[in-house]
Protein backbone atom coordinates (compact mmCIF):
# COMPACT_ATOMS: atom_id res chain seq x y z
CA UNK A 1 0.00 0.00 0.00
CA UNK A 2 1.45 3.33 -1.00
CA UNK A 3 0.59 6.30 1.14
CA UNK A 4 -1.12 9.30 -0.34
CA UNK A 5 1.77 11.50 -1.61
CA UNK A 6 0.07 14.62 -0.30
CA UNK A 7 -0.20 13.11 3.16
CA UNK A 8 3.44 12.04 2.94
CA UNK A 9 4.51 15.55 2.04
CA UNK A 10 2.50 16.99 4.93
CA UNK A 11 4.01 14.50 7.32
CA UNK A 12 7.48 15.42 6.08
CA UNK A 13 6.82 19.12 6.55
CA UNK A 14 5.46 18.50 10.05
CA UNK A 15 8.57 16.50 10.97
CA UNK A 16 10.89 19.19 9.65
CA UNK A 17 8.82 21.78 11.53
CA UNK A 18 9.19 19.93 14.82
CA UNK A 19 12.90 19.40 14.21
CA UNK A 20 13.44 23.11 13.52
CA UNK A 21 11.38 24.05 16.58
CA UNK A 22 13.39 21.95 19.04
CA UNK A 23 16.75 22.47 17.30
CA UNK A 24 18.09 25.28 19.52
CA UNK A 25 17.26 23.36 22.69
CA UNK A 26 18.90 20.18 21.40
CA UNK A 27 21.96 22.03 20.14
CA UNK A 28 22.14 24.15 23.28
CA UNK A 29 21.91 21.13 25.57
CA UNK A 30 24.46 19.08 23.62
CA UNK A 31 27.06 21.61 22.53
CA UNK A 32 26.30 24.71 24.58
CA UNK A 33 24.59 27.95 23.72
CA UNK A 34 27.51 29.28 21.70
CA UNK A 35 26.52 26.73 19.08
CA UNK A 36 22.99 28.09 18.98
CA UNK A 37 24.61 31.37 18.10
CA UNK A 38 26.42 29.65 15.24
CA UNK A 39 23.12 28.22 14.05
CA UNK A 40 21.70 31.76 14.11
CA UNK A 41 24.52 32.86 11.86
CA UNK A 42 23.86 29.92 9.56
CA UNK A 43 20.31 31.22 9.14
CA UNK A 44 21.63 34.65 8.18
CA UNK A 45 23.89 33.01 5.62
CA UNK A 46 20.96 31.06 4.21
CA UNK A 47 19.14 34.34 3.63
CA UNK A 48 22.18 35.87 1.99
CA UNK A 49 22.82 32.85 -0.19
CA UNK A 50 19.19 32.71 -1.31
CA UNK A 51 19.30 36.39 -2.19
CA UNK A 52 22.47 35.99 -4.21
CA UNK A 53 20.99 32.88 -5.79
CA UNK A 54 18.35 35.01 -7.48
CA UNK A 55 21.06 37.06 -9.19
CA UNK A 56 23.69 34.39 -9.83
CA UNK A 57 21.72 31.16 -9.81
CA UNK A 58 18.53 32.19 -11.58
CA UNK A 59 19.49 35.14 -13.77
CA UNK A 60 23.10 34.03 -14.30
CA UNK A 61 24.61 37.41 -13.44
CA UNK A 62 27.89 36.94 -11.63
CA UNK A 63 27.91 39.30 -8.65
CA UNK A 64 31.05 39.57 -6.52
CA UNK A 65 29.92 42.52 -4.43
CA UNK A 66 26.79 41.10 -2.92
CA UNK A 67 27.91 41.68 0.65
CA UNK A 68 27.49 45.43 0.04
CA UNK A 69 23.73 45.01 0.39
CA UNK A 70 24.23 43.17 3.67
CA UNK A 71 26.33 46.16 4.75
CA UNK A 72 23.65 48.64 3.71
CA UNK A 73 21.01 46.79 5.72
CA UNK A 74 23.30 46.44 8.72
CA UNK A 75 24.35 50.09 8.80
CA UNK A 76 20.83 51.33 8.30
CA UNK A 77 19.71 49.27 11.28
CA UNK A 78 22.73 50.44 13.27
CA UNK A 79 22.08 54.12 12.59
CA UNK A 80 18.39 53.89 13.39
CA UNK A 81 18.75 51.81 16.55
CA UNK A 82 21.85 53.14 18.29
CA UNK A 83 22.86 56.35 20.06
CA UNK A 84 25.50 57.04 17.40
CA UNK A 85 23.57 59.67 15.40
CA UNK A 86 22.54 61.51 18.58
CA UNK A 87 26.17 61.60 19.73
CA UNK A 88 27.55 62.66 16.36
CA UNK A 89 24.84 65.22 15.53
CA UNK A 90 23.42 66.50 18.81
CA UNK A 91 21.92 69.47 16.96
CA UNK A 92 19.87 67.24 14.67
CA UNK A 93 18.98 64.40 17.00
CA UNK A 94 17.88 65.42 20.46
CA UNK A 95 17.27 61.77 21.37
CA UNK A 96 18.79 58.66 19.93
CA UNK A 97 16.63 57.19 17.17
CA UNK A 98 15.15 53.91 18.32
CA UNK A 99 13.17 52.65 15.40
CA UNK A 100 11.14 49.49 15.94
CA UNK A 101 12.37 46.43 14.12
CA UNK A 102 9.21 46.06 12.05
CA UNK A 103 9.95 49.46 10.53
CA UNK A 104 13.73 49.16 10.19
CA UNK A 105 13.82 45.80 8.46
CA UNK A 106 11.43 46.70 5.63
CA UNK A 107 13.20 50.03 5.25
CA UNK A 108 16.55 48.23 5.12
CA UNK A 109 15.13 45.85 2.52
CA UNK A 110 13.88 48.78 0.45
CA UNK A 111 17.11 50.78 0.64
CA UNK A 112 19.22 47.72 -0.14
CA UNK A 113 16.88 46.97 -3.04
CA UNK A 114 17.44 50.50 -4.37
CA UNK A 115 21.19 49.96 -4.09
CA UNK A 116 20.71 46.72 -6.00
CA UNK A 117 18.98 48.57 -8.82
CA UNK A 118 21.70 51.25 -8.69
CA UNK A 119 24.31 48.54 -9.20
CA UNK A 120 22.25 46.81 -11.85
CA UNK A 121 21.44 49.83 -14.00
CA UNK A 122 24.94 50.68 -15.25
CA UNK A 123 25.96 47.03 -15.62
CA UNK A 124 23.03 45.83 -17.72
CA UNK A 125 25.11 45.20 -20.81
CA UNK A 126 27.89 43.38 -18.97
CA UNK A 127 28.10 39.66 -18.50
CA UNK A 128 30.42 37.13 -16.97
CA UNK A 129 33.89 38.32 -16.03
CA UNK A 130 33.21 41.95 -16.84
CA UNK A 131 30.15 42.07 -14.65
CA UNK A 132 32.08 40.30 -11.89
CA UNK A 133 34.78 43.00 -11.94
CA UNK A 134 32.28 45.86 -11.78
CA UNK A 135 30.27 44.29 -8.96
CA UNK A 136 33.49 43.55 -7.08
CA UNK A 137 34.36 47.23 -7.37
CA UNK A 138 30.91 48.20 -6.18
CA UNK A 139 31.23 46.04 -3.09
CA UNK A 140 34.59 47.60 -2.27
CA UNK A 141 33.27 51.12 -2.84
CA UNK A 142 30.53 50.58 -0.28
CA UNK A 143 32.98 49.16 2.24
CA UNK A 144 35.46 51.99 1.72
CA UNK A 145 32.67 54.54 2.04
CA UNK A 146 31.65 53.02 5.35
CA UNK A 147 35.28 53.09 6.42
CA UNK A 148 35.74 56.78 5.57
CA UNK A 149 32.39 58.39 6.21
CA UNK A 150 33.46 59.60 9.65
CA UNK A 151 34.67 62.90 8.20
CA UNK A 152 33.72 65.64 7.49
CA UNK A 153 30.49 64.52 9.14
CA UNK A 154 30.69 61.44 11.31
CA UNK A 155 27.99 59.29 9.78
CA UNK A 156 29.41 55.77 10.03
CA UNK A 157 32.01 56.28 12.75
CA UNK A 158 34.66 54.98 10.34
CA UNK A 159 36.76 51.92 11.09
CA UNK A 160 35.70 51.86 14.75
CA UNK A 161 32.20 50.98 13.66
CA UNK A 162 28.97 51.59 15.49
CA UNK A 163 28.22 49.92 18.80
CA UNK A 164 25.46 49.93 21.37
CA UNK A 165 22.97 48.84 18.74
CA UNK A 166 19.72 47.87 20.34
CA UNK A 167 18.59 44.30 19.82
CA UNK A 168 15.37 43.73 17.93
CA UNK A 169 12.32 44.03 20.15
CA UNK A 170 9.22 41.98 19.63
CA UNK A 171 6.17 42.65 21.77
CA UNK A 172 8.26 44.91 24.00
CA UNK A 173 10.78 42.17 24.70
CA UNK A 174 14.38 42.64 23.51
CA UNK A 175 15.51 39.44 21.84
CA UNK A 176 18.94 39.44 23.46
CA UNK A 177 17.47 38.87 26.91
CA UNK A 178 16.06 35.57 28.15
CA UNK A 179 12.33 35.17 28.39
CA UNK A 180 10.35 32.97 30.71
CA UNK A 181 7.73 31.07 28.77
CA UNK A 182 5.46 28.54 30.51
CA UNK A 183 7.96 28.21 33.31
CA UNK A 184 10.89 27.57 30.91
CA UNK A 185 13.69 30.06 30.62
CA UNK A 186 14.32 30.63 26.91
CA UNK A 187 17.74 32.21 26.35
CA UNK A 188 18.19 35.19 24.03
CA UNK A 189 20.02 33.24 21.34
CA UNK A 190 17.06 30.90 21.15
CA UNK A 191 14.67 33.79 20.71
CA UNK A 192 16.88 35.21 17.97
CA UNK A 193 16.86 31.78 16.39
CA UNK A 194 13.09 31.70 16.14
CA UNK A 195 13.01 35.24 14.82
CA UNK A 196 15.64 34.45 12.17
CA UNK A 197 13.99 31.17 11.36
CA UNK A 198 10.66 32.88 10.69
CA UNK A 199 12.30 35.35 8.32
CA UNK A 200 14.38 32.64 6.66
CA UNK A 201 11.25 30.62 6.01
CA UNK A 202 9.66 33.73 4.56
CA UNK A 203 12.66 34.20 2.26
CA UNK A 204 12.52 30.56 1.18
CA UNK A 205 8.82 30.90 0.51
CA UNK A 206 9.32 34.03 -1.59
CA UNK A 207 12.14 32.37 -3.54
CA UNK A 208 10.10 29.26 -4.28
CA UNK A 209 7.11 31.27 -5.40
CA UNK A 210 9.21 33.52 -7.62
CA UNK A 211 11.02 30.58 -9.15
CA UNK A 212 7.73 28.96 -10.14
CA UNK A 213 6.43 32.08 -11.80
CA UNK A 214 6.66 33.96 -15.04
CA UNK A 215 9.52 35.97 -13.55
CA UNK A 216 11.50 32.93 -12.44
CA UNK A 217 11.22 31.52 -15.94
CA UNK A 218 12.29 34.83 -17.44
CA UNK A 219 15.41 34.88 -15.21
CA UNK A 220 16.42 31.40 -16.23
CA UNK A 221 15.71 32.24 -19.87
CA UNK A 222 18.11 35.20 -19.63
CA UNK A 223 20.70 32.95 -18.02
CA UNK A 224 20.35 30.34 -20.74
CA UNK A 225 20.26 32.65 -23.78
CA UNK A 226 19.78 36.37 -23.49
CA UNK A 227 19.25 37.00 -27.20
CA UNK A 228 16.56 34.33 -27.42
CA UNK A 229 14.97 35.71 -24.25
CA UNK A 230 14.71 39.15 -25.83
CA UNK A 231 13.26 37.68 -29.01
CA UNK A 232 10.67 35.92 -26.86
CA UNK A 233 9.42 39.27 -25.68
CA UNK A 234 11.22 39.47 -22.35
CA UNK A 235 12.19 42.98 -21.36
CA UNK A 236 15.63 41.91 -20.24
CA UNK A 237 16.48 45.29 -18.75
CA UNK A 238 13.57 45.31 -16.32
CA UNK A 239 13.78 41.63 -15.50
CA UNK A 240 17.51 41.88 -14.72
CA UNK A 241 17.00 44.97 -12.57
CA UNK A 242 14.28 43.10 -10.73
CA UNK A 243 16.73 40.26 -10.05
CA UNK A 244 19.34 42.69 -8.73
CA UNK A 245 16.78 44.56 -6.65
CA UNK A 246 15.09 41.53 -5.12
CA UNK A 247 18.37 39.77 -4.42
CA UNK A 248 19.67 42.88 -2.67
CA UNK A 249 16.47 43.08 -0.63
CA UNK A 250 17.20 39.78 1.08
CA UNK A 251 20.74 40.96 1.75
CA UNK A 252 19.37 44.12 3.38
CA UNK A 253 17.08 42.16 5.69
CA UNK A 254 19.87 39.80 6.69
CA UNK A 255 22.11 42.82 7.34
CA UNK A 256 19.55 44.39 9.66
CA UNK A 257 19.22 41.16 11.58
CA UNK A 258 22.99 40.89 11.83
CA UNK A 259 23.32 44.40 13.29
CA UNK A 260 20.63 43.80 15.90
CA UNK A 261 22.12 40.41 16.75
CA UNK A 262 25.74 41.54 17.14
CA UNK A 263 25.00 44.93 18.68
CA UNK A 264 28.00 46.18 16.74
CA UNK A 265 28.87 46.75 13.09
CA UNK A 266 32.13 47.77 11.45
CA UNK A 267 33.33 47.83 7.83
CA UNK A 268 35.53 44.80 8.52
CA UNK A 269 32.51 42.49 8.43
CA UNK A 270 31.76 43.38 4.82
CA UNK A 271 34.95 42.59 2.94
CA UNK A 272 35.41 40.87 -0.37
CA UNK A 273 36.03 37.54 1.33
CA UNK A 274 32.48 37.62 2.69
CA UNK A 275 31.08 38.16 -0.81
CA UNK A 276 33.18 35.27 -2.06
CA UNK A 277 31.98 33.15 0.84
CA UNK A 278 28.31 33.72 0.00
CA UNK A 279 29.02 33.06 -3.66
CA UNK A 280 30.71 29.80 -2.72
CA UNK A 281 27.63 28.76 -0.76
CA UNK A 282 25.55 29.23 -3.89
CA UNK A 283 28.03 27.51 -6.21
CA UNK A 284 28.94 24.63 -3.89
CA UNK A 285 25.34 23.94 -2.96
CA UNK A 286 23.92 24.04 -6.47
CA UNK A 287 23.33 27.20 -8.43
CA UNK A 288 19.70 27.99 -9.00
CA UNK A 289 18.49 25.15 -6.78
CA UNK A 290 16.96 26.43 -3.55
CA UNK A 291 17.51 23.30 -1.37
CA UNK A 292 21.05 23.04 -2.71
CA UNK A 293 21.80 26.66 -1.88
CA UNK A 294 20.45 26.15 1.65
CA UNK A 295 22.67 23.10 2.05
CA UNK A 296 25.68 25.05 0.80
CA UNK A 297 25.00 27.90 3.22
CA UNK A 298 24.62 25.56 6.21
CA UNK A 299 27.77 23.59 5.38
CA UNK A 300 29.97 26.62 4.83
CA UNK A 301 28.59 28.44 7.84
CA UNK A 302 29.23 25.49 10.12
CA UNK A 303 32.58 24.36 8.69
CA UNK A 304 34.79 27.05 10.28
CA UNK A 305 33.11 26.61 13.64
CA UNK A 306 33.48 22.86 13.48
CA UNK A 307 37.17 23.35 12.73
CA UNK A 308 37.60 25.81 15.55
CA UNK A 309 36.01 23.26 17.81
CA UNK A 310 37.73 20.13 16.51
CA UNK A 311 41.01 21.09 14.85
CA UNK A 312 43.01 21.88 17.98
CA UNK A 313 42.18 18.74 20.03
CA UNK A 314 42.60 16.49 16.98
CA UNK A 315 46.03 17.89 16.21
CA UNK A 316 46.99 17.71 19.88
CA UNK A 317 46.19 14.02 20.03
CA UNK A 318 47.79 13.22 16.66
CA UNK A 319 50.97 15.26 16.79
CA UNK A 320 51.15 16.38 20.37
CA UNK A 321 51.08 19.99 19.27
CA UNK A 322 49.06 22.36 17.02
CA UNK A 323 50.69 22.47 13.58
CA UNK A 324 48.17 24.54 11.69
CA UNK A 325 45.94 27.01 13.45
CA UNK A 326 42.21 26.51 12.76
CA UNK A 327 41.86 29.77 10.84
CA UNK A 328 44.46 28.80 8.20
CA UNK A 329 43.10 25.29 8.13
CA UNK A 330 39.70 26.71 7.35
CA UNK A 331 40.88 28.43 4.17
CA UNK A 332 42.93 25.40 3.20
CA UNK A 333 40.01 22.99 3.55
CA UNK A 334 37.76 25.48 1.93
CA UNK A 335 39.97 25.61 -1.15
CA UNK A 336 40.24 21.84 -1.30
CA UNK A 337 36.47 21.51 -0.98
CA UNK A 338 35.94 23.93 -3.85
CA UNK A 339 38.37 22.11 -6.11
CA UNK A 340 36.88 18.72 -5.26
CA UNK A 341 33.32 19.83 -5.81
CA UNK A 342 34.12 21.59 -9.08
CA UNK A 343 35.99 18.51 -10.29
CA UNK A 344 33.41 15.87 -9.43
CA UNK A 345 30.17 17.73 -9.02
CA UNK A 346 30.46 20.82 -11.21
CA UNK A 347 26.77 21.62 -10.86
CA UNK A 348 27.07 21.67 -7.05
CA UNK A 349 26.43 19.18 -4.26
CA UNK A 350 22.69 19.18 -4.81
CA UNK A 351 22.00 20.46 -8.31
CA UNK A 352 18.56 21.14 -9.65
CA UNK A 353 16.89 18.42 -11.63
CA UNK A 354 14.75 19.18 -14.64
CA UNK A 355 11.36 20.27 -13.43
CA UNK A 356 8.58 17.91 -14.38
CA UNK A 357 5.05 19.12 -14.45
CA UNK A 358 2.07 17.14 -13.28
CA UNK A 359 -0.20 18.16 -16.09
CA UNK A 360 2.32 16.72 -18.52
CA UNK A 361 1.92 13.28 -17.00
CA UNK A 362 -1.82 13.46 -17.71
CA UNK A 363 -1.14 14.56 -21.27
CA UNK A 364 1.18 11.63 -21.80
CA UNK A 365 -1.34 9.15 -20.52
CA UNK A 366 -4.03 10.54 -22.80
Amino acid sequence: MSADPKLKARLGIALIGVALAVLPFVVGATFGNSWVRIVDFALLYIMLALGLNIVVGFAGLLDLGYIAFYAVGAYLYALLSSPHLATAFPALFAVAPGWPVWAVLPLGALVAGLFGVMLGAPTLKLRGDYLAIVTLGFGEIIRIFLNNLNAPANITNGPQGINNIAAAQIGGHALNRPLELFGVMVPGVHLQYYFFLALTLLVVFVCVRLQDSRLGRAWVAIREDEVAARACGINTRNVKLLAFGLGATFGGVAGGLFAGFQGFVSPESFGLLESVMVLCMVVLGGMGHIPGVILGAVLLALLPEALRWGAVPVQQSLFGKVLIDPESLRLLLFGIALVVVMRWRPAGLWPSALRKRELAAHGEAA
Binding site: F205, V206, R209, L210, D212, S213, R214, L215, G216, R217, A218, V220, A221, R223, E224, D225, V227, A228, A229, R230, A231, C232, G233, I234, N235, T236, L242, L246, L354, R355, K356, R357, L359, A360, G363, E364
Partner: protein, 258 residues
Protein backbone atom coordinates in the same frame (compact mmCIF):
# COMPACT_ATOMS: atom_id res chain seq x y z
CA UNK B 1 -5.12 42.45 -53.33
CA UNK B 2 -4.93 42.65 -49.55
CA UNK B 3 -3.06 45.44 -47.75
CA UNK B 4 0.48 44.50 -46.65
CA UNK B 5 0.87 43.25 -43.09
CA UNK B 6 4.48 44.32 -43.04
CA UNK B 7 6.08 46.98 -45.12
CA UNK B 8 9.81 47.73 -45.00
CA UNK B 9 10.96 50.93 -46.68
CA UNK B 10 14.53 51.77 -47.55
CA UNK B 11 16.23 49.75 -44.81
CA UNK B 12 19.99 50.31 -44.73
CA UNK B 13 22.46 48.84 -42.30
CA UNK B 14 26.21 49.16 -42.26
CA UNK B 15 28.73 47.27 -40.12
CA UNK B 16 32.00 49.19 -40.28
CA UNK B 17 33.01 49.04 -43.92
CA UNK B 18 30.41 46.46 -44.91
CA UNK B 19 27.11 47.67 -46.28
CA UNK B 20 24.99 44.76 -45.11
CA UNK B 21 21.68 46.20 -46.32
CA UNK B 22 21.18 48.86 -48.98
CA UNK B 23 17.76 50.49 -49.20
CA UNK B 24 15.84 47.26 -48.93
CA UNK B 25 12.11 47.64 -49.37
CA UNK B 26 9.61 44.85 -49.38
CA UNK B 27 6.11 44.12 -48.29
CA UNK B 28 4.54 41.00 -46.91
CA UNK B 29 0.80 40.41 -47.23
CA UNK B 30 -1.27 38.87 -44.49
CA UNK B 31 -1.65 35.13 -44.85
CA UNK B 32 1.16 34.48 -47.31
CA UNK B 33 4.37 32.55 -46.99
CA UNK B 34 7.05 34.96 -48.09
CA UNK B 35 10.48 33.66 -48.95
CA UNK B 36 13.70 35.60 -48.61
CA UNK B 37 16.62 34.01 -50.39
CA UNK B 38 20.07 34.99 -51.52
CA UNK B 39 23.64 33.74 -51.60
CA UNK B 40 25.68 33.55 -48.40
CA UNK B 41 26.36 36.97 -46.96
CA UNK B 42 23.60 38.62 -48.98
CA UNK B 43 22.15 40.23 -45.86
CA UNK B 44 19.19 37.96 -45.22
CA UNK B 45 19.88 37.43 -41.55
CA UNK B 46 20.81 41.10 -41.08
CA UNK B 47 17.44 42.06 -42.49
CA UNK B 48 15.83 39.56 -40.18
CA UNK B 49 17.63 40.98 -37.19
CA UNK B 50 16.50 44.50 -38.07
CA UNK B 51 12.95 43.31 -38.50
CA UNK B 52 12.85 41.54 -35.14
CA UNK B 53 14.62 44.34 -33.30
CA UNK B 54 17.98 42.76 -32.51
CA UNK B 55 19.64 45.41 -34.70
CA UNK B 56 18.53 48.96 -35.24
CA UNK B 57 18.53 50.24 -38.83
CA UNK B 58 20.74 53.11 -40.00
CA UNK B 59 18.00 54.27 -42.31
CA UNK B 60 14.49 53.34 -43.23
CA UNK B 61 11.42 52.24 -41.39
CA UNK B 62 9.22 49.21 -41.06
CA UNK B 63 5.47 49.47 -40.73
CA UNK B 64 3.66 46.53 -39.25
CA UNK B 65 -0.09 46.56 -39.65
CA UNK B 66 0.10 50.29 -40.33
CA UNK B 67 2.18 51.11 -37.23
CA UNK B 68 5.89 51.94 -37.28
CA UNK B 69 7.94 49.20 -35.61
CA UNK B 70 10.20 50.24 -32.71
CA UNK B 71 13.39 48.97 -34.33
CA UNK B 72 16.09 47.99 -31.86
CA UNK B 73 13.62 47.05 -29.10
CA UNK B 74 13.02 43.32 -29.59
CA UNK B 75 10.63 42.75 -26.72
CA UNK B 76 8.26 45.43 -27.99
CA UNK B 77 8.39 44.05 -31.50
CA UNK B 78 7.56 40.62 -30.08
CA UNK B 79 4.69 42.27 -28.26
CA UNK B 80 3.38 43.79 -31.48
CA UNK B 81 3.27 40.35 -33.04
CA UNK B 82 6.48 39.36 -34.79
CA UNK B 83 8.12 36.17 -33.54
CA UNK B 84 11.23 34.49 -34.83
CA UNK B 85 13.41 31.44 -34.74
CA UNK B 86 17.17 31.42 -35.11
CA UNK B 87 19.46 30.03 -37.77
CA UNK B 88 21.58 28.33 -35.12
CA UNK B 89 18.88 27.07 -32.78
CA UNK B 90 18.71 29.07 -29.55
CA UNK B 91 16.72 27.22 -26.96
CA UNK B 92 16.86 27.56 -23.19
CA UNK B 93 18.94 24.46 -22.73
CA UNK B 94 18.43 23.76 -19.03
CA UNK B 95 14.66 23.97 -19.32
CA UNK B 96 12.19 21.35 -20.41
CA UNK B 97 10.51 21.66 -23.78
CA UNK B 98 7.32 22.72 -22.04
CA UNK B 99 9.05 25.45 -20.06
CA UNK B 100 10.67 26.78 -23.21
CA UNK B 101 7.23 27.31 -24.67
CA UNK B 102 5.99 28.80 -21.39
CA UNK B 103 8.75 31.40 -21.59
CA UNK B 104 7.36 32.32 -24.98
CA UNK B 105 4.11 33.30 -23.24
CA UNK B 106 5.96 35.84 -21.09
CA UNK B 107 4.84 38.93 -22.91
CA UNK B 108 1.18 37.88 -22.89
CA UNK B 109 1.18 37.37 -19.10
CA UNK B 110 0.75 39.94 -16.39
CA UNK B 111 1.72 38.36 -13.08
CA UNK B 112 4.11 40.65 -11.21
CA UNK B 113 6.26 40.12 -8.16
CA UNK B 114 3.43 40.36 -5.65
CA UNK B 115 1.07 38.22 -7.68
CA UNK B 116 3.75 35.56 -7.99
CA UNK B 117 4.61 35.58 -4.27
CA UNK B 118 1.02 35.60 -3.03
CA UNK B 119 -0.09 33.28 -5.86
CA UNK B 120 -3.31 35.20 -6.27
CA UNK B 121 -6.25 33.49 -7.98
CA UNK B 122 -5.48 35.54 -11.09
CA UNK B 123 -1.85 34.43 -11.08
CA UNK B 124 -2.86 30.83 -10.54
CA UNK B 125 -5.34 30.95 -13.41
CA UNK B 126 -2.75 32.53 -15.66
CA UNK B 127 -0.18 29.86 -14.77
CA UNK B 128 -2.60 27.01 -15.46
CA UNK B 129 -3.65 28.63 -18.70
CA UNK B 130 -0.02 29.12 -19.74
CA UNK B 131 0.74 25.48 -19.15
CA UNK B 132 -2.32 24.30 -21.05
CA UNK B 133 -1.52 26.55 -23.99
CA UNK B 134 2.09 25.42 -24.00
CA UNK B 135 0.93 21.81 -24.22
CA UNK B 136 -1.46 22.71 -27.01
CA UNK B 137 1.38 24.34 -28.95
CA UNK B 138 3.67 21.36 -28.46
CA UNK B 139 0.87 19.17 -29.77
CA UNK B 140 0.45 21.53 -32.71
CA UNK B 141 4.07 21.11 -33.78
CA UNK B 142 3.90 17.42 -32.92
CA UNK B 143 6.22 17.04 -29.94
CA UNK B 144 3.92 17.03 -26.91
CA UNK B 145 5.23 13.60 -25.90
CA UNK B 146 8.59 15.32 -25.31
CA UNK B 147 7.15 18.05 -23.08
CA UNK B 148 9.18 17.01 -20.05
CA UNK B 149 12.42 16.34 -21.89
CA UNK B 150 15.26 18.74 -21.46
CA UNK B 151 15.41 20.97 -24.53
CA UNK B 152 19.01 20.04 -25.34
CA UNK B 153 18.14 16.33 -25.34
CA UNK B 154 15.70 16.71 -28.22
CA UNK B 155 16.72 15.64 -31.70
CA UNK B 156 17.73 18.34 -34.13
CA UNK B 157 14.44 18.34 -36.01
CA UNK B 158 12.46 18.40 -32.77
CA UNK B 159 14.52 21.32 -31.48
CA UNK B 160 13.48 23.23 -34.61
CA UNK B 161 9.88 22.36 -33.92
CA UNK B 162 10.25 23.41 -30.31
CA UNK B 163 11.67 26.74 -31.38
CA UNK B 164 8.68 27.26 -33.65
CA UNK B 165 6.31 26.35 -30.81
CA UNK B 166 8.07 28.84 -28.55
CA UNK B 167 7.75 31.54 -31.21
CA UNK B 168 4.07 30.72 -31.69
CA UNK B 169 3.54 31.09 -27.93
CA UNK B 170 4.05 34.85 -28.24
CA UNK B 171 0.87 34.93 -30.37
CA UNK B 172 2.56 36.38 -33.44
CA UNK B 173 0.84 37.63 -36.56
CA UNK B 174 4.07 37.22 -38.48
CA UNK B 175 6.29 34.23 -37.89
CA UNK B 176 9.84 34.71 -39.12
CA UNK B 177 11.86 31.53 -39.63
CA UNK B 178 15.60 31.88 -40.17
CA UNK B 179 16.80 28.93 -42.25
CA UNK B 180 14.63 26.35 -40.52
CA UNK B 181 15.67 23.54 -42.88
CA UNK B 182 19.40 24.09 -42.43
CA UNK B 183 21.06 20.83 -41.45
CA UNK B 184 17.88 18.79 -41.79
CA UNK B 185 17.66 15.49 -43.65
CA UNK B 186 15.04 14.92 -46.35
CA UNK B 187 12.45 13.46 -43.97
CA UNK B 188 12.84 16.29 -41.49
CA UNK B 189 12.59 18.87 -44.28
CA UNK B 190 9.39 17.26 -45.54
CA UNK B 191 7.98 17.38 -42.01
CA UNK B 192 8.95 21.03 -41.70
CA UNK B 193 7.30 21.82 -44.99
CA UNK B 194 4.10 20.14 -43.82
CA UNK B 195 4.22 22.19 -40.63
CA UNK B 196 4.64 25.47 -42.50
CA UNK B 197 1.76 24.55 -44.78
CA UNK B 198 -0.34 23.78 -41.73
CA UNK B 199 0.53 27.22 -40.36
CA UNK B 200 -0.48 28.87 -43.63
CA UNK B 201 -3.70 26.88 -43.59
CA UNK B 202 -4.42 28.30 -40.14
CA UNK B 203 -3.93 31.85 -41.42
CA UNK B 204 -0.41 32.54 -40.17
CA UNK B 205 1.81 34.86 -42.17
CA UNK B 206 5.29 33.39 -42.51
CA UNK B 207 8.55 34.99 -43.51
CA UNK B 208 11.01 32.32 -44.49
CA UNK B 209 14.72 32.71 -45.00
CA UNK B 210 16.07 29.62 -46.63
CA UNK B 211 19.02 28.22 -48.49
CA UNK B 212 17.07 25.25 -49.73
CA UNK B 213 15.85 26.86 -52.97
CA UNK B 214 13.66 23.89 -53.79
CA UNK B 215 11.84 24.23 -50.50
CA UNK B 216 11.36 27.96 -50.97
CA UNK B 217 10.17 27.69 -54.56
CA UNK B 218 7.75 24.93 -53.71
CA UNK B 219 6.36 26.51 -50.59
CA UNK B 220 6.34 30.28 -50.91
CA UNK B 221 3.65 32.46 -52.37
CA UNK B 222 6.18 35.15 -53.17
CA UNK B 223 9.94 35.36 -52.99
CA UNK B 224 12.41 38.21 -52.64
CA UNK B 225 16.07 37.81 -53.51
CA UNK B 226 18.86 39.69 -51.76
CA UNK B 227 22.34 40.04 -53.18
CA UNK B 228 25.10 42.12 -51.59
CA UNK B 229 22.53 43.80 -49.36
CA UNK B 230 20.24 44.81 -52.19
CA UNK B 231 16.92 43.41 -53.22
CA UNK B 232 17.30 42.27 -56.82
CA UNK B 233 13.96 40.58 -57.33
CA UNK B 234 10.56 40.14 -55.72
CA UNK B 235 7.79 38.13 -57.30
CA UNK B 236 6.08 34.76 -57.45
CA UNK B 237 8.56 31.85 -57.50
CA UNK B 238 8.15 31.05 -61.19
CA UNK B 239 9.08 34.57 -62.27
CA UNK B 240 11.95 34.88 -59.79
CA UNK B 241 13.38 31.56 -60.94
CA UNK B 242 13.80 32.90 -64.49
CA UNK B 243 15.06 36.35 -63.51
CA UNK B 244 18.53 36.78 -65.11
CA UNK B 245 19.79 38.87 -62.18
CA UNK B 246 18.84 36.10 -59.78
CA UNK B 247 20.55 33.49 -61.91
CA UNK B 248 23.61 35.70 -62.11
CA UNK B 249 23.66 36.18 -58.35
CA UNK B 250 23.53 32.45 -57.72
CA UNK B 251 25.58 31.07 -60.60
CA UNK B 252 27.70 33.97 -61.81
CA UNK B 253 27.37 36.35 -64.75
CA UNK B 254 28.35 33.93 -67.52
CA UNK B 255 25.75 31.39 -66.55
CA UNK B 256 23.09 34.07 -66.83
CA UNK B 257 24.34 35.12 -70.25
CA UNK B 258 24.55 31.58 -71.55
Amino acid sequence: MSAPLLEARGISKRFGGVQALREVSLSIRAGEVYGLIGPNGAGKTSFFNVLTGLYSADQGEVRFDGQPLPLGVPHRIAGLGIARTFQNIRLFGAMSALENVMVGRHIRLHTGVLGAILRTPAARREEADTEARAHALLRYVGIDRLANQQATHLSYGDQRRLEIARALATEPRLLALDEPAAGMNATETAGLRALIEKLRGDGMTVLLIEHDVKLVMGLCDRVAVLDYGEKIAEDVPDVVRRDPRVIAAYLGREAADA
